[in-house]
Amino acid sequence: MTVREKIYNGLFIASDLRQFLLARPILELRVHSVFETSVNLLTQEEELVTFASSGRDIMPMGMVAAVPGVSVWGLRAGDTLSSDGRLVFNLPRGAGSIWLKDAHVRPVSLTQPLQVKCSPGIMALDLIKTKLLLANADGISPLIAWMPEGDTPPSTRKGNVYCTFIYRDLELFLKVLVSDKPEHALDLTERLIGFGPGLTPSCDDFLAGILLSLFYDSPWGNDANNGLRENLERVAVIARDRTTLVSYHMLRHAASGRANEAYLELLRAIVEDDLDALDSLIERVLAYGSSSGADFLFGLYCARKISADNIRTSRSDSE
């Protein structure tokens, strides 16, 4: 009997990962952490690469393979995987190989500019708020009941223990974000990064939503404000030592407009007021982690709400 080597095919590969791999003929990846549906690997340049099982959405520097769970690969923290520059990875201990050659390439940043409609996603924002209130998730998203408007008198306890702790700092952050110097809010992120339950702490998910929205928001994101990108990148620098490795990379990507496919689609659906798409996207995102998706949605909501209010104000000013 001949023993044939097991081949695992990639279903999807992020465009940035593909580019990264093709540019490096010889590459060693070290297994950093192993979960049920994903493995995180580090390159020597400390770039984080994610191999996930099917059912997961494609993420920056990630790929999704046709396996029910990643345990089939038998990877353990500390293992190394080598690639030969042709998008094939050999698994240790003869467990086979992972082939990414035929995986569909998926974008992890928006390729088209957002089409802001005359009513900037008001219905979409209402839908998000309703669904988040209903979900009553574990992280900081229950604060959506009071934010970003913040016009209710503060009570001693809001939502869960995390909400109570972070309420004031978050309120301040959002207040600066609506001011005429919104980029200063990014200086306050030190008081948020790394806070909350989960492997990507809640406030980081929240900030990812804010950063992603800021990156693509036309009033701020166009060439008129060149300083914005620098400011966003500063957040990533702050995050480096203040949160988990996975979370740091998520924030770094978000500051450059890269995110999970569903997160990008969500942003597009809000801006374009595409309620049909939004409805199922919210359900999909709410299923992320225990509260990660909800916290991200909360951040995105705040950023879009502020942006929508700004647009309305500037319109009525010009009339």
């Binding site: 049920e36 059912g55 990064i193 806070f195 909350g196 990660s292």
Partner: protein
């Protein structure tokens, strides 16, 4: 007291961390538990909650910490750690089996090449899910009911546009490419193709075809409302066209209640041009118009099966309205049964789990006897008009009014068992039941009927009386239940088992006539 543990470079996904902290909080004596990654701000929270200990000074953002506040007289840290480890192991086990994605979209990614969706979510959500599936290019079988007729029309139009199947809503039976779906029997593959608007009717026909030695190419379900004016027979027509184009199908068989006139015309137009023989059982419908369309009409589901088989074998189809057994044998069985009844035993109790089988029974017997029912032939025979137990009764126990809040009686025999107890007494003469086997059905429906009959007969024996019970078993020797054992169990209990529903109904008619009921 407060205590803490730290796991360096320990990575668990957020869901696991959340479950762990919830389970630990449930332990008796635990006041507060924080499970998190050791970031500065998370440690600030621990301080604010006055749960900070020196061990936490050296923690980094990539370490997992658990900080707990508890009453040490009721719980100790070892128990908390044990709970932590137990949760982590439990999580691993629960994922050891098949991966179950949360959405249709992720299911499609995990099962590349998926081409079919079986949908049985509650009715108010079913239309949205079906629409998503059709949009993804998947064929749909919708078992769910309580879907609006507007939604049904929209979905079926969409399916027809895309060349997909949209079977249902309320479609219980189909066999596609040899795979029995929802409520269906394991039958041979062969050359007869069926399009059916009724679940158990389709089951009965396919089972009988199998027993006659032939097989099925495709069995397409449409759902009960397809032939109504509003839907226009969209799926029946789609199904007929597919069977006409299918080289494996040599004979086509259609089963439904009589269609709306405009729909009937469309079907007859399509059938009139068919190069393949078409057998039509529009139960209780007009045989003349079927003949005019060049198709073969039927007198029963069994007759439909026999005629399809005859046509496949190039034989001339003839009406079958008799018995497989000889007239002599039948006369003997009838006389024996009628002779067992006392003059006070006057009434029929027909308790069906299969809707079409009940329909077939009431349409036949209702012509000769006043039968009360939840599906009456005339309004004055509605169930509500029955006084006490004094009258003949034929029930479709699968109808909504009996299934509210509990499974269909084909899945859970309890509903029928209860009717045996409440509606059968010393005035009952004849019991008529169906026993439907196959996938979807209860693991031993015959056993449940046999038990009920034994109980009734014991009860009546104490009054010096007996009862007549007649059944038919819709099943094949390949079904997951044991067909042979099912028949034996029924016969052991004294039930007369007939080869088809139609023959069971006719036997009951003979017994009732002979006993003068």
């Amino acid at each position: 007291m407060i205590d803490t543990i730290v796991r360096e470079n320990a990575y668990f996904d957020s869901v696991t961390l959340m479950l762990i902290s919830r389970e630990m909080k449930k332990l008796d004596g635990v006041e507060e538990v924080l499970v998190g990654m050791g970031t500065d701000l998370n440690l600030d929270l621990v301080k604010m909650l006055e749960m900070f200990l020196p061990e936490l000074e050296k923690v980094t953002p990539n370490d997992l910490f658990i900080a707990a506040k508890f009453d040490e007289s009721r719980v100790n840290m070892d128990e908390l750690i044990a709970s932590f480890d137990e949760q982590i192991n439990k999580k691993k086990e629960s994922h050891a089996g098949d991966y179950q994605p949360p959405t249709l979209r992720s299911a499609i990614e995990y099962l590349p090449g998926a081409n079919f969706v079986v949908l049985s979510v509650p009715g108010q959500y079913a239309a949205d899910e079906a629409e998503n599936a059709l949009r993804e290019g998947l064929n749909v079988m919708m078992f769910s009911d309580n879907v609006s007729i507007e939604d049904e029309l929209k979905l079926k139009r969409m399916a027809v546009d895309k060349g997909l199947l949209m079977m249902g809503p309320d479609c219980g039976t189909a066999i596609i490419n040899g795979v029995p779906l929802c409520f269906a029997n394991v039958v041979k593959r062969g050359k007869i193709g069926v399009v059916g608007a009724s679940g158990t009717g389709t089951q009965e026909v396919t089972v009988l075809i199998d027993q006659l030695g032939e097989g099925l190419s495709q069995v397409i379900g449409t759902g009960g409302r397809d032939l109504r004016e509003e839907i226009g027979g969209l799926m029946m027509i789609q199904g007929i066209e597919a069977l006409l184009a299918d080289p494996e199908t040599h004979v086509i068989l259609l089963i439904s209640k009589p269609p709306a006139p405009s729909v009937e015309k469309k079907i007859y137009d399509l059938v009139a041009d068919s190069p393949k023989p078409v057998v039509i059982d529009f139960i209780g419908g007009n045989a003349e118009s079927v003949l005019r369309a060049g198709a073969v009409p039927c007198v029963s589901l069994e007759d439909a099966a026999k005629k399809a088989v005859a046509l496949l074998r190039k034989q001339t189809p003839v009406d079958f309205d008799g018995f497989d057994a000889s007239e002599q044998e039948i006369a003997h069985v009838v006389d024996d049964a009628a002779g067992r009844l006392a003059p006070e035993q006057k009434y029929l109790r027909a308790l069906f789990t299969g809707g079409t089988l009940a329909d077939e029974a009431i349409k036949y017997l209702g012509e000769h006897y006043p039968i009360y029912s939840n599906i009456p032939l005339t309004p004055d025979r509605a169930l509500a008009k029955l006084e006490g137990l004094a009258g003949h009764l034929c029930l479709d126990l699968g109808e909504d009014e009996f299934t509210r809040g509990r499974p269909h009686p084909m899945i859970d025999p309890m509903t029928r068992t209860e009717f045996f107890e409440s509606h059968i007494d010393e005035t009952t003469a004849v019991i008529l039941v169906d026993v439907v086997l196959g996938y979807g059905s209860h693991e031993d429906p015959a056993g449940a009927v046999a038990d009920s009959v034994i109980k009734i007969r014991e009860k009546l024996a104490s009054m010096g009386r007996d009862i007549v019970a007649v059944a038919s078993v819709t099943g094949t020797d390949k079904d997951p239940q044991d067909l042979k054992q099912s028949i034996e169990d029924l016969e052991q209990a004294g039930v007369i088992v007939m080869p088809s529903n139609a023959q069971a109904v006719r036997l009951v008619d003979r017994i009732m006539k002979t006993a003068g009921l």
